[in-house]
Symmetry: C2
Amino acid sequence: MKQEILQLQQEMKKNGVDFYLIPTSDYHHSEYISNYFKCREYLSGFTGSAGTLLVTLSDAYLWTDGRYFLQAEQELAGSGITLMRDGMADVPTISDFLKTHIQAGQTLGFDGRLYTTSFIIALQRKLSAKKVQIKYNLDLPHKIWTDCPPLSSEPVYHFPESYAGTPVSEKLDGYRNYLKKYRADCQLLNGLMDIAWLFNLRGHDVACTPVFLAYAYISTKEAILFVQDGVLTNEAKEHLLTNHVTVQSYETFYEFVKNIQKKRILVDHSDLNYCCYQALSNTNVLLRCAKWTTMEKIVKSEIEIENTKNCHIRDGVYMTKFMYWLKHTIKERTLSELEVANYIDNLRLSDRLALDLSFETISAYGSNAAIVHYSASVESNAVVEPKGMLLVDSGGQYLDGTTDITRTFILGPITDEEKLCYTTTCRSMLHLANAKFLSGCRGSNLDCLAREPMWELGIDFRHGTGHGVGHVLSVHEGPNNFRYLVNQNNLDAVLLPGMVTTDEPGIYQTGKFGIRIENELLCKKWKRNEYGQFLEFEYLTYVPIDLDGIDVTLMNKQEKSWLNDYHKRVYDIISPHLIYEEKEWLKTYTRPI
Amino acid sequence: MKQEILQLQQEMKKNGVDFYLIPTSDYHHSEYISNYFKCREYLSGFTGSAGTLLVTLSDAYLWTDGRYFLQAEQELAGSGITLMRDGMADVPTISDFLKTHIQAGQTLGFDGRLYTTSFIIALQRKLSAKKVQIKYNLDLPHKIWTDCPPLSSEPVYHFPESYAGTPVSEKLDGYRNYLKKYRADCQLLNGLMDIAWLFNLRGHDVACTPVFLAYAYISTKEAILFVQDGVLTNEAKEHLLTNHVTVQSYETFYEFVKNIQKKRILVDHSDLNYCCYQALSNTNVLLRCAKWTTMEKIVKSEIEIENTKNCHIRDGVYMTKFMYWLKHTIKERTLSELEVANYIDNLRLSDRLALDLSFETISAYGSNAAIVHYSASVESNAVVEPKGMLLVDSGGQYLDGTTDITRTFILGPITDEEKLCYTTTCRSMLHLANAKFLSGCRGSNLDCLAREPMWELGIDFRHGTGHGVGHVLSVHEGPNNFRYLVNQNNLDAVLLPGMVTTDEPGIYQTGKFGIRIENELLCKKWKRNEYGQFLEFEYLTYVPIDLDGIDVTLMNKQEKSWLNDYHKRVYDIISPHLIYEEKEWLKTYTRPI
């Protein structure tokens, strides 16, 4: 068995723990985790972005999903850790595995700060018949990992109102009205996007997400921000002072939580980590309720919308220039996936308002594009040739907004099947983007508009049609999205004017090719009449959809006019920012079909 | 104040009740109620099919919905009862009204047998701050209503396996496996459709629904049917005996319930009435869980499907003959709405397997059709002329199945607007009917396929696009349906092969016209491939859609081919059952466009 696992098992014995869980998470359930939190990677040797390690006194198991089966096999070889292929028919889930293997009276340990309350409550329900002991206050990995890098503590700066839109004072008033509505005293926030949005601050502690490590406490009288010592810029300090926000040290948060007593507290089980929940639950009245910020931050203000539109124009110019470069260069020489990714990344990062990419660029050529979460590495880096298709999914974090766009480019000859799939994907994107709908609709009501052109052919894509997009926060931000599989516990939000959602259908043929076309859509008001308020979408993304992939005979009149209208707007918006040759080329690639 | 209300107030005083509720319901929450249960009508004088009467010691209030505002105004005139127009912005709901008006310590009374557990629990939650006393065992109206007709007690007969499909023994085994899965001892059934389905029995105690008054108790060891004395036919008795079903008297049910002790009982809050719930709750462990029959009865067996298809052919022949008669007769003379309704009703009721209509036929001419729940009466009975449109929504209960169909007929010249709306309604129906979709979809995922052609024009219809249809039970039977407004507590079922759902979009222009086109759709398997099991719909309804209303220029190629394919099937299936002249006429009305 791997040395680090043996050491952990020693610690488990010392602490009277029979089973110990190490997820891939930080104290804030962030999508990307910083180095300090990479305990699962340190202990197991597996470097993938998702997975959970379960260690018993004699064994160790690593659960990860289909994206990482191959990589995990290689990285776990010789470690003594058993790979559990999540989602395979014969592989139990972690909670089912625990249910089977844990004995009455045995102890399950974990660091409760790494888990949401809802996850642990569901797990406890699963194990309820077993009378299992739970120790949730155990951070064992950091006892072993002696050379663990420190917590990221990048500067935290003021995100001015000209970008943020709404003043902090107004947001805090909103939060307090929400507390009053539920006759509550306070709410604690764990989520970094919520905190950055609420206080109009930004930072750089999480990859591709301009947020910073923090907790917050909002009461009817106080607002306390818990951040690491020394990270706030002077401007940020002054901004908080002006808004009557108290600053306390990140390290003192759990001590603070312990001392909260006899309060009526709003608790969002999907946000609050389990340690906080436990600390609060006995001495307070907990009212289960979504945090106020969830809906507030996802419905963009007018200023945020204006800013977002601006950044999308610049982003569209970079993508169009990139497309011009790609279509011309591939006629002259081969490229590599990474070279292509670097080209578009450099264009974005040279923007005067650029903060970061909004996620690691996916540049996937040929059959690599059939792997939905493909990430080119130095090893996999495929040669890009003047044939077939290249899928590029990328985006930027700018001071004025966050972008996410996918285009699939035709680099040379493609087959009839590829053309059918490309055209169908384009039709799918257009059908959803052009929906008119009544207020009250959810994304799950509209998702089939994108899927129906594919379902008619017996084709599907195994991912959501779209996700909510945050504003200079996370590029993946709910609770709005487009998908069809919902249940009582997992219903998507009603669509509201001001929400931004991606529209990104795709077709993936394993071993052959992958196609995805993604535009961002802004929800806005359309007609109002005796039937109520109708809504519609407005494109935020303006970049040509490669006409070399379109078989015009497969599109009906309405679909052609949707595509032509879109391309006319692309030309009108993007061409003023291009040089002559690019402009002439763009005219061809936005021509009516 | 009306005499009957004064008498009720006397009874309330005697029983220490400050507020008394009288809903429109029976002990089984049936859609139609028989005469014994019409207490609200007796006390208030209001004869509509929906409404709740609330009586205080000094006042009385009647809530009813938009269909009945006018009628209620007239019928309540001089009664001293205040009309509460449900759904109007300034009118509180009953529970909100109670919350405002009832004082701490006051007593609310009602007959708990008339309310589902979920309704009363929600009401109690609403009133929780008020410390209201609840008396749920009070049937006061029947103390006053001395000449109340007795309970309906029509014969209950055996519904043979050749029609029912699955033997009772198999159904009871299924129920017992369900109980075991939840480690439960038993479940009580209140719902008449569930009971009729489970025991393969039918009766005639509820209008348009071939069911009978009954309760049932299913345990791991016993099955007890509570029916009125003397209603079972000899054959039915023998059938129950063979299947080890004990029969007890309907009147002894609540005594039986009181004696259930120390059991683990599955309780479906939407089915079990509040009296049962109360009787069980202290002395047993209640496990909240849907009754097994809900999903089982709505997914038709192969024999039920075959029977359903047969009855739809005969029903389609009657509707087609009716259409032939209507289109010819209107050229010769005027008709009336009731005459039209009688014509189609007589055709159906002459069927050798006819049991009843499946609901009161809606025959609505011109602007009457804009009233969604219009019901022609001797007073309203409009003259039907050779111009405009006539909407007929009707169906039959046959021994081999239940039908529901709407057609809107063009009787003479119509306007361009009417043609646009007619064609759009037809396109809406076709889009939903021709959907292909992956297993896991709910009706709420697909509803927008029907609405999108209307929403694009800024038009909507204010009813669901479709409802589940029972098998020789209720024509309105969930939990499958097509609608887009869902929430966590009210999510529609996942669509499964064997479910039957109507597809009935419409357009209604107040004061002008109403259009609805309704076909029944059977959900069935389509392709299965690497993406999973695809599903599709098959039409059950085969009746021409009046081509005189269609503007061909408004339909695309795919829509025209959908309509032509449908009409070809109509001709192939229906024409063999017609006489020569009808057949020739049908050829024209099913011609390709």
